[in-house]
Symmetry: C2
């Protein structure tokens, strides 16, 4: 099995590779990629090794080939559909942020329980009442849920998403979610992140 951290770095590498391709580069050495990503050359080589790709000692890694390998490794061939729950300030901003960012990963619907928001199309994404989660997640074969709700409803909304069949949740609410082991949860805790900056900015 491949580690969490390696997956994160691969995701990073492929964006850096896309930048290099825009600049008409063809090859890249591990030390160059490492420098761009803020890591070490050995780390890059390990990560590339993990997906079974290999480069040439003289030229480095072929950019197009490596990009394709990472894509094949990270993306579902048929793409992944996500829904977002909680169309408040943060939910709307994140919907806008992800729209059109990755071809194989799209937000296909949003949910809210405020009738002022439901029934409308916000940033190209239709907003439904939360009661429709089960139906829409089922109909569209949605695999990922994004939670941008207040923390007191994070668990119940997660339960609805899990019940509806998602296999992963990206949770922006500052709460640990209780989910069955088949469901993967990634946490983005902005408050903790800011507190870390505050702390280490002062203590370094």
């Amino acid at each position: 099995m491949i580690s969490d951290k390696t997956i994160g770095r691969l995701s990073q590498y492929r964006r850096l590779i896309a930048d290099l391709l825009v600049d008409d580069e063809r090859f890249v050495f591990s030390h160059k990629l490492a420098e761009m990503a803020g890591g070490t050359a050995a780390q890059v080589r390990r990560d590339v090794m993990a997906i079974g790709y290999s480069g040439s000692p003289t030229k480095g890694y072929d950019l197009a080939g490596l990009a394709e390998s990472i894509d094949n490794f990270l993306d579902a061939p048929e793409g992944t559909r996500a829904v977002l729950v909680g169309m408040g300030n943060l939910g709307r901003a994140i919907t806008a942020y992800f729209t059109g960012r990755r071809p194989k990963l799209s937000i296909v619907a949003a949910f809210d329980n405020d009738s002022y928001r439901t029934g409308r199309v916000i940033h190209g994404c239709r907003c439904y009442p939360v009661e429709d989660i089960a139906k829409i997640v089922g109909d569209l074969d949605v695999r990922v849920g994004i939670l941008t709700v207040p923390q007191r409803v994070a668990q119940p909304m997660a339960d609805m998403l899990v019940q509806a069949g998602v296999s992963g949740i990206l949770n922006f609410a500052p709460t640990r979610l209780r989910v069955p082991p088949r469901v993967y949860v990634e946490y983005i805790d902005m408050t903790t992140a800011l507190e870390k900056v505050s702390y280490f900015g002062r203590n370094m």
Copy 2:
């Protein structure tokens, strides 16, 4: 020196402790806190040990005392002031999100280079043109910058913040920042986070 991860968990613990205090609890055992935080009891004890607090074998940790110890450890006594650069969708949402969330950590100003946004007060936060960064960061003794700008301007905006004297940056733009070693940078990469969910949702 205390580790990055421990700081993150301490930030989490103190919110959990606040919840327990609301429920009129007085003490907590390491295994209870661990269960709430999604970790192990040994981990909690190590983290508490790191800040030099200690509990009682019979009652566990005194909630008020532990909360105070964590506060003293994490927070600057005089509080920390932050500014946010980039008042787009995400910047506005994050300004709203942080407003009033932590007493000792507040966003005191925002910046943008779009004249439609500058000069206005958004979510209780005045928005200035980016040219004013140096002056305002200096005048208000701002220590933390939050970057919610498009990636192509993330580095120049980081440079301005560093130049102005911040000691930490919370960067939402998907780019590695080049900063002097005295400046701490924390990255929140939402695209990578979502790609991890997509990957591990499928591969577990």
